[in-house]
Structure formats: structure tokens, C-alpha cells
Symmetry: C2
Subunit: 367 residues, 2 copies
């Protein structure tokens, strides 16, 4: 009955999880210790230190949420969006819809600014939208995993006014493309472990600016979420007291720690360059086998590549053959792109030359 | 800077996490695959099958929540307690307080039935309380980790009326003492991975009865929690469609799966007997070194033993010496028992004769 023994080292080139490095697997199985053990507190401090570096921030508040990326996402919204808060959600894909759904649950006063799926957010339209309106929170996705579009957060940040909390989804961007939390004046950011950081899912980085923390702390009453209540959890992750809130996912934190150490060792700049280089390699290879990209060149996300499925080709058949015959996973399309695109992830440990070669060779055989 | 290499195989005999078996460590590092990979779906099905057995239930809805025990706890409350629902919380320890806190966030109409910390819930008083009042939900903790008290859920269940959802915390009881979800007519139950199941924290079992699922599904509108919305998550864990909700913590699920396979292999009955036998061994040993228990014999929880700290003995000094000189972790007291009791866990892989001997020897040296 034990199905674990049959598992193979599948090459994960979908929208995530990405393949995990031997280092991180080893870290994951390090001896479990208590969540209040001084050695664990020390590891927490090191994780914080390394998170600041990958986020490019001096924010004191950097920590991994005890869940997968969507828990980190909800941590940002539930702690920073109060009932009736006026919030602008800039939407150009599936994860923008999820932002809306979360804000509905919080009974926020939601304003949507919609752009076509597969197209980049138009900064001028954002500027126009926010010019004469106060928004408590403005939220946008940096790298839309659903479509392979990168939004220009730097430019968007310049048009968002100072009286708004700027909330950014960095689930697929962290550790794969440029991300400068402080320079881009981002107030709240969330990501995950299983994409750019190439760690299994289960411990998901967030960071809040001082302004975000002030909004969170000034808020009266209890938020409708206990597990993700950062006003309480901050007492465990910061300061001298280390007050118990909930048991942290100890071994997942080990894995994230190792993944961050690996980025530190390679150097963030080198990591980002590697992502860029394998992206170019992939694009060139896809062109050779006459496969076209969904997204315009200038808006393309290096780390998640939406490829148009050629007419007459059966989406699922090819993906299944890739998985069963070649042990490679790629993703299908979401929403309007279901059956119409493949999503090829180039993230973390998966983003290496030999992997791109392997995938191109397999696709070449199959098509 | 890598602190993982310094970690030792600390013997975890506190309130959790408990020590992890080599089997489970190995499973944890099995190759990460996608959360929609048919092999992973198959593992999910096996986990469900094994969870039914440890919960002693025929409930279709058995699954691990993608977080630690408190996330499982919140899953039960947030999905089953609506605004203004009349809820009775039976409290005799710290985790009863947490139930209250969660229900405040949900704006429930809360009624508390309080018993002294360290004492068992009096079933007659519960019966009196519910006799003439309708409660939408009645919630109680089976095994109070904060005090080492076991509440008699079987007897309590007999006095709870049919018009109430009966919600039980089994965080410290699952896999350590008798627990019969169907026989005791429990409608919603939650536990964790890092105690009786001896797996690292991060994937936490819950189960809902048909009545609970009906209450959940009949509810209108969105609950104030996206990550734990079981109405949506059930579509990923059940049925043919397997709709993506959030990325599951893949490797944590492997670990939980292996832990459940290990229980299955030893036999649940044998596992429970082992817990009983090491508890008796511990009690006898503690008596020999003149240490007394906080809780009356009949109300004692086998798996979590609250021991009175003798007068003149410094709590933290002894616990630190145990940790640093003997590599054994035990827990301190919570709330009114801080500094007054030690909490010795006998759970899962930690609950073995040689471990009890090791701890008793160390305590004997230190006191």
C-alpha cells in the first residue's frame, strides 16, 4: 500500500511546485526539535535575515507563514483589510480573482480594475483610476502564474498614492525575477516556498512595512482569523518574549532555511541571471519547433512561460505522455486558457540548462 | 551560518512535537511531485482511508488540513460556526480558551461552561446546562494538553442533544488513547500530526459527519476564511473532479501518510496499549523519586502527564539542564500552572520504554 516507494524524481516544470534540490531534501529531514527550543528560535532569526535579502528590504517584519502560498496571501489581506475598507484590486489573471474572493469574505468595499488575461497591467490606466480616489489598499499581482504575464510593479508603485497600502503578490516572482520591496515602496508582500525558492510547499514568506504594521496594530477588535493573526504571531517571531501562538511547521522551516541559504550561496544576482538565461534558451528552443508564446515579449514572465498549444494537438494527451513517458511535469491552462496553453515553469532548481534541453527534446519527439 | 548541521536527535517528551521515527523522516524527503499528479491524488486517497481507521469513523470527509493543529481547529470552527450561532464551549484549560477566542472572531453567541483547570469536565453539569437550551454547536477538548486532563467524551456525547453539532478537539488524543468518532456521535473533530502520530507538524487531520457537512453546505454566503474553506477544499479531496484550491504541502502529506502506515502496521490497539504501558511505567518511576501528579488518577491523560514541580526546585533550570545536558525536552506549565508543573508527553515514537527510563534517570540525577 505504500505508494511513496514508487515515486520518481519527476522533473517539475509546471507552475509549481518546482524540483527540490538534494540539499533541501536533506534539510527537510533534519531532526525535529521543539518550536520553543532556543536552537529553533535561532533558525527563525536566520530565516528572517535571509528573507530580508531576497525581498530586498529592511523591513523588520519578514517571516514565513505556517501554510502554503495562499495562506501567505490571506495573511496579508486578513490583517490589512478591514470591513468597509476601500480596496482597489488590479486584475489580469486568476490570482487577481482570488484577491477579490478573499476581500469579499472580509466585507471590503471592492473596486476592480480589470485588464485582459495575458496582457500586462497598463500603468496609465492605474494612474487615472487612483488619481482622485482614496484607496485604503491597492493590490496587484507581480507575476501572474495563470498567464505568464509580468506586471511592472516598479512603475505601478510610482502612481500609487502615499495614503494607500500597496499590497503585492510575489508568489512566482520571488527568487526568479527582480523584486525590490523597499525601492518599490511595497507595504505588504507574500510569496511561497515551492516556486523560485525550490522548496516543498508549506512555509510561505511574507513581509510588512512599518506602515502596514501600523495599520494592523491600530485596528480595533479581533480579525476573523485566528491562525493567521499576525498581531499575535509577531510576538513569536519577533522580540525577546517569543510567546507561543501555534506550533510552527518545524521541518518545513528547515527546508525553507536551506533553500534560502542556497540562494545566498549562489548569490541572488546569479540566481536571477540563471533564470533569465534558461528562459532565453527555452524561447529559442520553442521557436525551433514552431511553438508560439501567449504573451508579448515585453510583458513576459521569465519564470512562467505560457505556450500556445498548436491546433489539432491534444493538451492532456501530451501532458500525460510527458509525465508518464518522460517523467516531466508541465502545467495546463487556467480559466479561459484551459486546453489552449501549456504553462512551463522555470523556477529554482528546475531552472537549469539540462532541464530545458530535456523538455525541448521530449516536446520535439511528441509533436 | 547553517544551524541545521548542529541539530541533535533530541528526545521530545514535551507537549509536542514528539520524536519522529526514521521511517517518517525518510518519507518526508520522498521526491516532491505536483499536487494534481495522479500519484499524489492516489496518496491522498490512501491518507483518507487510513485516517478513517485511526478516527474510528465511516465519515467520507476525513482529510489533513494544510497547516498545523490550530489550522485544523480553526477549520472546524470557521466552517461550522456562523455569526450569531449559539455555541456552548466547555472549558477546563488553555485550548478551551482558544476555542472561545476563535468563536469571538466569528461573532458567535457564546455560552461558556467553565471547570477548574486540572479537573475533569463534570458530565452532570453539562447535562443540566444543555437540557433546556438549544445550542447550534457544543465544543469540548478531549485531551487538555495544557493540564493533562482527559475529558470523558463518550459520556458527554450521551447528554448532548441531537440538535447540536458536537465538535471535539482530539489534538493530543488521536493515536494515544481511545477515540471513537462514530460511536461517540462526534460531528467534527480535529487533531494534529506532531503528537500521537509522531510526524513533524504541518498536516492536521479533521473529519466531519454528514450532519456537519450538511450544516456547512447549507450555509449561505462566504465564510470569512479562504484558505480553510472546506466547502471548496472538499472538491479537491473528494470526488472525481479534483478541483485545484491551493497547493497542498506535498512532503508533509508524505510524512503523515507514512506515520499512518506505521500505526496501521503496529495495529492501533497495540499502539494504544503501548501508550498505556509507558504511562504506567512513568507514574511508577515518578513516585519513586517523590514527584506527584497534578491530576486525579481517574481523569489523567495517559499521553500528557502534568507533574508538580517540588518546592524549591527551579522550573527553567531543570528544563534547560534536561535539554542541554541530556538532550531531552519536556514542557513547562501554561497559564496558572506556569512554573508549577512540568508537562511530560508520551506520544507516538517518543512513547517507548527506553525513553521513559532515560527521562527518569535524568530527573533522578537532577533533583
Amino acid at each position: 500500500m505504500n505508494k511513496l516507494n514508487d515515486l520518481t524524481q519527476t522533473l517539475l516544470m509546471g507552475p509549481g511546485p518546482s524540483s527540490v534540490s538534494p540539499n533541501v531534501y536533506k534539510a527537510l529531514s533534519s531532526p525535529t526539535i521543539g518550536h520553543l527550543d532556543p536552537r529553533f528560535i535561532n533558525i527563525m532569526d536566520n530565516i528572517k535575515f535571509l528573507l530580508k535579502k531576497v525581498f530586498n528590504t529592511n523591513n523588520d517584519f519578514c517571516m514565513p507563514v505556517s501554510g502554503t502560498g495562499s495562506a501567505a496571501m490571506e495573511s496579508c489581506f486578513v490583517n490589512l483589510v478591514s470591513k468597509n475598507d476601500k480596496i482597489l484590486i488590479i486584475q489580469n489573471g486568476y490570482f487577481g480573482l482570488r484577491m477579490e474572493n478573499m476581500c469579499q469574505r472580509l466585507e471590503a468595499n471592492i473596486d476592480l480594475l480589470k485588464f485582459d488575461w495575458g496582457k500586462e497591467v497598463d500603468v496609465n490606466i492605474v494612474e487615472e483610476k487612483v488619481k482622485n480616489t482614496h484607496y485604503d489598499v491597492v493590490a496587484v499581482v507581480h507575476a501572474e502564474t495563470s498567464t505568464g504575464v509580468k506586471n511592472d510593479i516598479e512603475s505601478i508603485s510610482k502612481v500609487i498614492k502615499d495614503d494607500s497600502i500597496f499590497l503585492v503578490d510575489a508568489v512566482t516572482s520571488l527568487g526568479t525575477i527582480d523584486l525590490n520591496v523597499d525601492e518599490w515602496r511595497i507595504d505588504a508582500i507574500y510569496s511561497c516556498s515551492q516556486k523560485g525558492l525550490s522548496c516543498p510547499p508549506g512555509a510561505s514568506p511574507i513581509s510588512f512595512s512599518k506602515r502596514a504594521i501600523k495599520k494592523m496594530k491600530d485596528r480595533e477588535g479581533l480579525i476573523p482569523n485566528w491562525y493567521l493573526d499576525m498581531k499575535e504571531i509577531i510576538k513569536y517571531w519577533d522580540g525577546n518574549q517569543r510567546v507561543y501562538h501555534h506550533t510552527a511547521p518545524i521541518n518545513m522551516m528547515y527546508a525553507l532555511y536551506q533553500a534560502l541559504l542556497d540562494v545566498e550561496k549562489e548569490g541572488l544576482k546569479n540566481v536571477l541571471n540563471r533564470h533569465k538565461s534558461v528562459h532565453n534558451q527555452l524561447i529559442q528552443g520553442l521557436e525551433k519547433i514552431n511553438l508560439n508564446m501567449l504573451v508579448d515579449k515585453n510583458s513576459r514572465l521569465l519564470s512562467l512561460n505560457a505556450v500556445k498549444i498548436p491546433k489539432g494537438v491534444n493538451d492532456l494527451e501530451i501532458r500525460n505522455k510527458l509525465l508518464y513517458d518522460y517523467d516531466i511535469e508541465i502545467g495546463g491552462g487556467l480559466g479561459p486558457f484551459a486546453g489552449k496553453v501549456w504553462r512551463i515553469g522555470l523556477m529554482g532548481h528546475s531552472a537549469r540548462e539540462e532541464n530545458v534541453k530535456k523538455l525541448l527534446k521530449a516536446l520535439n519527439h511528441l509533436l
